[in-house]
């Protein structure tokens, strides 16, 4: 499978090391088709390819959003792209958040750090059909106030009356007056019906493990908790073997995996 070459429509700096790329659809197409939770392999010419979650779409689906943090050669090259530059895209790949399955339940989204990006499309999908869901809760933990992703959007969401949003940071700086403390500490502050709640978690593995524990303590069932997992990826087709996580290939069985399926693996180190 070879990359499709598309143009960068716009870029936006989110934090000191994180940018969102807005991509035009391939020539001859009007929109991007994807499901919340899926990812694309993005190719920076001459440097390489990395898996980046789709973090939303803009202009009624006409452009696709990818939030990239500069941590290596390829991701750094992607964050240096400008409007009009070209990027290679393969995808979309992977499993999706249970937006349909959650209809009729309360939904609790717990995101940590850059983990907000892969789950944002789910949030928007839920908001697009808000009447189908009970309570909608977003808990977001970040390292510092200046690393909070999509801050203006969060503030806009706060003005809605039908979403409960709680944001916390690990380390407070400057004039932060919000919560300080781990994201798990937000769980007991928010009212939800644990037996009828679907939880969607995305963030560093250790954060997800502790969040699952807190949700389970609160009574959320194993079959209703979903995690977005991450592993090294090369082909995204299930052929190179790199992304294996126990029996699952994160590129095709994941990245969104249900907790009861991976529960035993999560407890073992270096799997």
């Amino acid at each position: 499978m070879i990359p499709e070459v598309v143009r960068v429509a716009a870029t936006r700096r989110e934090t000191a090391d994180t940018w969102t790329l807005e991509l035009e659809p391939p020539p001859g197409e009007d929109t991007w088709a994807y499901r919340p939770g899926q990812f694309n392999m993005l190719y920076a010419f001459g440097i390489g390819e990395v898996p980046i979650s789709i973090s939303g779409s803009a202009r009624q689906g006409a452009t696709l959003l990818h939030t990239v943090r500069a941590v290596g050669a390829v991701s750094s090259a992607l964050t240096r792209l400008k409007r009009g530059d070209s990027v290679g895209v393969r995808g979309p790949f992977g499993s999706a958040w249970p937006v349909e399955e959650a209809a009729g339940s309360d939904v609790l989204i717990a995101a940590g750090g850059l983990g907000f990006a892969p789950v944002r499309p789910a949030l928007y999908a839920l908001l697009a059909r808000r009447e189908r869901y009970g309570k909608l809760i977003l808990l977001y933990g970040s390292r510092r106030p200046e690393e909070i992703l999509y801050r203006r959007e969060i503030e806009a969401l706060r003005r809605r009356l039908d979403v409960d949003i709680d944001v916390t940071v690990d380390h407070a700086t400057g004039t932060w007056h919000g919560h300080v403390g781990v994201v798990t500490s937000l769980i007991r502050r928010v009212a939800f019906d644990p037996e009828h709640t679907v939880a969607m978690l995305c963030g560093p593995e250790v954060m997800m493990r502790f969040t699952v524990a807190a949700l389970r303590d609160a009574g959320v069932t194993r079959e209703n908790v979903y995690l977005s997992m991450e592993r090294n990826m090369k082909c995204a087709l299930g052929h190179c073997g790199h992304c294996q996580y126990g029996s699952d290939f994160v590129c095709k069985d994941g990245p969104v995996l249900r907790y009861d399926r991976i529960r035993e693996r999560l407890a073992v180190r270096e799997v």
Binding site: G113, G141, D170, H171, H177, V180, R188, M207
Partner: protein, 154 residues
């Protein structure tokens, strides 16, 4: 007094406490409020009372090496503020400051400690509620220290 008894009975910290113990606790309790910016206690001060928050948020702060105050945790409704009242030397290790209007139940630590000494069953009940808070704070602090959202170090 009756209002205070109900408040204590309904507060998360004392949930399901036997009524005879509630009566003992009430004897050491009173309603208090703090305006935004007011300190509940300061580092180094004598830990002779502690607080059960009924409304509002409190920032726990310490002075950082660069001089400014750093908030390492925020607490709110249902939380216990102040841990050092329980162990000698009964001295506060950090500042607690109201971020907004805070209404709380203040408990006289000297009074309560005496009652815990006199009645070990009450002591055990309080201990059973106190230790989980400690563990929760400790574990939260560890996770914060792990800096899990930090960018990868090469």
């Amino acid at each position: 007094m009756e209002g205070l008894e109900r408040i204590i009975r309904e507060h998360q910290f004392f949930r399901d406490l036997d009524p005879k113990f509630v009566a003992l606790v009430v004897g050491c309790a009173k309603n208090v409020r703090f305006e935004a910016g007011e300190y509940l206690f300061r580092e180094g001060g004598e830990a002779d009372q502690f607080y059960l928050i009924r409304h509002g948020r409190v920032a726990l702060e310490m002075v950082s090496p660069s001089g400014g105050a750093v908030t390492f945790q925020t607490l709110g409704e249902g939380d216990l503020v102040g841990l050092s009242w329980f162990v000698p030397p009964y001295r506060w290790a950090y500042d607690a400051r109201a971020l907004e209007l805070v209404r709380a139940v203040s408990l006289d630590a000297v009074c309560l400690r005496r009652k815990l000494d006199d009645d070990h069953d009450l002591g055990y009940e309080v201990m059973q509620r106190f230790v989980p808070v400690l563990i929760d704070r400790l574990q939260g602090t560890r996770l914060q220290m792990l800096d899990v959202y930090g960018a990868a170090k090469k």
